[in-house]
């Protein structure tokens, strides 16, 4: 595992095309995307529905491969990596936050957070430590034995954030993490994401439809029809609600 130095980009997307095939028809989704993220970046991705945000995020997270172009993340050329190596790579480098939380319903909060740690060589004791720490960071140290159905949406999303950070990944990807939450819970999630970036120096990419959510990232990228429309530094980026 190569550890990138502080100035090496965490994410390097070069001239990426992505198309999906449905039988005879080819659906072009990304048409020449370029993107670079430095360590500690916090990027918000916006754009109309169907513009290719999730597709790009999936490529960066190593869930899919580009049709052409290169996606290099944490020093790994993902397009040239085998499926099984990609799985291992994801478990080390990427934390996932989904719109629908995607917790395993039959596992408790504790067990959900522990799940990705079972893929690491950590001892049982170290795992317990890390699960507790992660759940305490998201403020759910007292809900460890609760099942997802016993938690509110906001709490579920916090468990999923704990799961995303438990393995201490370099990169965190979040696809509309507040999309299914009320304003108050959504705000709590955004606070947490801000902390992960500021306090724990995580590089974050977040897809969102909400401009005020995007405004709290360091940088906002706007897409349309699979192309970059704008990429601006948010001068007013703060961790608190405007």
């Amino acid at each position: 595992m190569s550890t990138p130095s502080n100035t090496d980009p965490v994410v390097l997307v070069r001239d990426v095309y992505k198309e999906f095939r449905k039988g005879e028809t080819v659906i072009p989704v990304l048409a020449g995307m370029d993107l670079e993220l430095l360590p500690g970046d916090y990027l918000a991705m916006m754009g109309p529905s169907g513009s290719g945000k999730s597709t790009l995020l999936n490529l960066i997270a190593g869930l899919d491969k580009p049709t052409s172009g290169s996606v290099i993340v944490c020093g790994q050329d993902l397009g040239k990596t085998s499926q099984s190596a990609l799985a291992k790579w994801r478990s080390r480098h990427v934390g996932f936050i989904f719109q629908m939380y995607n917790l395993i319903p039959v596992l408790t909060a504790y067990e959900n957070v522990e799940l990705p740690l079972t893929l690491t060589p950590l001892s049982r004791k170290q795992r317990v430590e890390q699960v507790k720490t992660a759940l305490e960071i998201v403020g759910l140290g007292d809900r460890m034995d609760h099942y997802p159905r016993q938690l509110s949406g906001g709490q579920e999303q916090r468990v999923s954030i704990a799961r995303a950070i438990a393995t201490d990944p370099t990169l965190i990807v979040a696809d509309e993490p507040t999309g299914d939450l009320d304003a108050k819970s959504g705000n709590e999630i955004l606070e947490l994401m801000h902390r992960l970036n500021e306090e724990f120096h995580k590089t974050i990419i977040m897809v969102t439809h909400d401009p005020s959510a995007a405004a709290r990232a360091k940088r906002t990228l706007t897409m349309a029809d699979g192309r970059l429309v704008s990429d601006i530094q948010n001068s007013t980026a703060t961790g608190t609600t405007a």
Partner: protein, 387 residues
């Protein structure tokens, strides 16, 4: 490895489906274990009847006792041959036996079936494994009494204790019930040799001679001597070989049973597969999540196979447990060699239970394999988009 509790809890969330699938599998395993237990029982009956130190002497060319006849004078010579073991009174352990078949009504209006009636010398009892009178008393010679195997007595209308039957218009009365270690004798009705042959107007006729010859060399000498005697035209076979031959009669049953078990197992595999397909498609997003987190395809395959195995093994255990109350229960079927009723006890030993669990294992592995393959063939991004 994905923790097993993930599978166990997923199964308990879908407990109705899980239970129904377990039951379906349990029924198939139960039915298969019953048939295997029946085959074991039949084979045991034939095996335990055959003693490697006993000889059966029959007419040359006959392959079962029913078609054999031995001249009375020859029979008398045979029981006095050298090398035959002696009982406590110094009598040779050799029994002249006459075998006939009667048609008798079954109990509970079950139609009629052939029953073997054997007339034999008193000493013949010692040639059967663990011969014991379990009810009533042993028969007395000369007064037309019968003893009946316990399992035959429960299957035939007139053959219970104190029952009576007509043999060629001569009345015979049942005075005792016996057991004989699950051997072929447990499919028979016994009379005194002379009583039976005189009723049949074959006074003194003999079908076979049974004898115990403990020494290998003596046995061989008798076998050779019988073969070389052109006057009598007889042959001597070791009893265990004789019954080994009779096992061919259970072969047909065995083949049919295995075919039925195979069909049932195949059906149960579909039940298991169906349940697992449903599990996989309803948990697509979970599978996508597990893969996103970095679980390898092989890990997820194993996890779903384990889930299928758990269902099938629970079903298998239920199925095996359901057969236990029937252990030792007797049943009857027709012996294809003698066309008469043979009785046996279901035997569910470790071998039969393991065969049943083996079927359950096969159902779990094969029934779980294809759904598990479907689970890992999904594109992660597609799986994550499922509701």
């Amino acid at each position: 490895m994905i923790p097993l509790k993930y599978n166990l809890r997923s199964l308990s969330v879908r407990w109705v489906t899980t239970l129904l699938t377990c039951l379906a599998i349990g029924i198939v395993v139960c039915a298969s274990v019953l048939t295997f237990g029946m085959i074991e029982g039949i084979e045991h009956a034939l095996t335990s009847s055959g003693d490697a130190t006993d000889l059966i002497i029959m007419r040359k060319g006959s392959n079962n006792e029913l078609s054999s006849t031995i001249a009375p004078t020859a029979a008398r010579d045979l029981i006095n041959l050298d090398g035959i073991a002696k009982d406590a009174q110094g009598q040779p352990l050799a029994s002249r036996e006459f075998i006939t078949v009667l048609i008798q009504p079954r109990r509970n209006a079950g139609g009629t079936a052939n029953v073997i009636v054997r007339g034999l010398d008193k000493v013949g009892r010692e040639l059967r494994p663990n011969f014991t009178i379990v009810e009533g008393r042993d028969l007395e010679a000369g007064v037309n009494e019968l003893i009946v195997s316990k399992s035959i007595s429960t299957r035939f209308e007139n053959l219970g204790l104190d029952g009576s039957i007509e043999i060629n218009n001569v009345n015979f009365r049942v005075v005792g019930l016996f057991e004989a270690g699950g051997s072929a004798a447990e499919s028979e009705v016994w009379a005194d040799l002379r009583d039976l042959t005189s009723a049949q107007r074959y006074n003194g006729a003999v079908s076979v001679v049974n004898m115990r010859v403990p020494e290998e060399a003596d046995r061989q000498a008798i076998i050779d001597r019988v073969r070389e005697n052109d006057q009598f035209k007889l042959s001597a076979v070791v009893e265990s070989d004789y019954f080994e031959d009779q096992k061919s009669s259970s072969l047909a049953i065995k083949v049919i049973a295995y075919i039925i078990a195979a069909f049932l197992t195949f059906g149960a595999m579909f039940a298991a597969a169906n349940t697992m397909y449903a599990a996989v498609s309803s948990r697509a997003r979970e599978i996508g999540t597990l893969r996103a987190l970095g679980f390898a395809r092989s890990t997820i395959l194993v996890s779903f196979m384990l889930e299928s195995l758990v269902i099938c093994l629970i079903g298998g255990i239920l199925g095996c447990l359901a057969t236990l109350p029937l252990n030792g229960l007797s049943g009857g079927t027709q012996n294809a060699a003698t066309f008469s009723e043979i009785t046996f006890s279901f035997r569910f030993g470790p071998k039969v239970l393991l065969q049943g669990m083996g079927l359950a294992l096969a159902m779990g592995l094969i029934g779980g394999f294809f759904p598990a393959i479907r689970a890992i063939r999904m594109q992660i991004t597609n799986a994550l988009r499922q509701s």
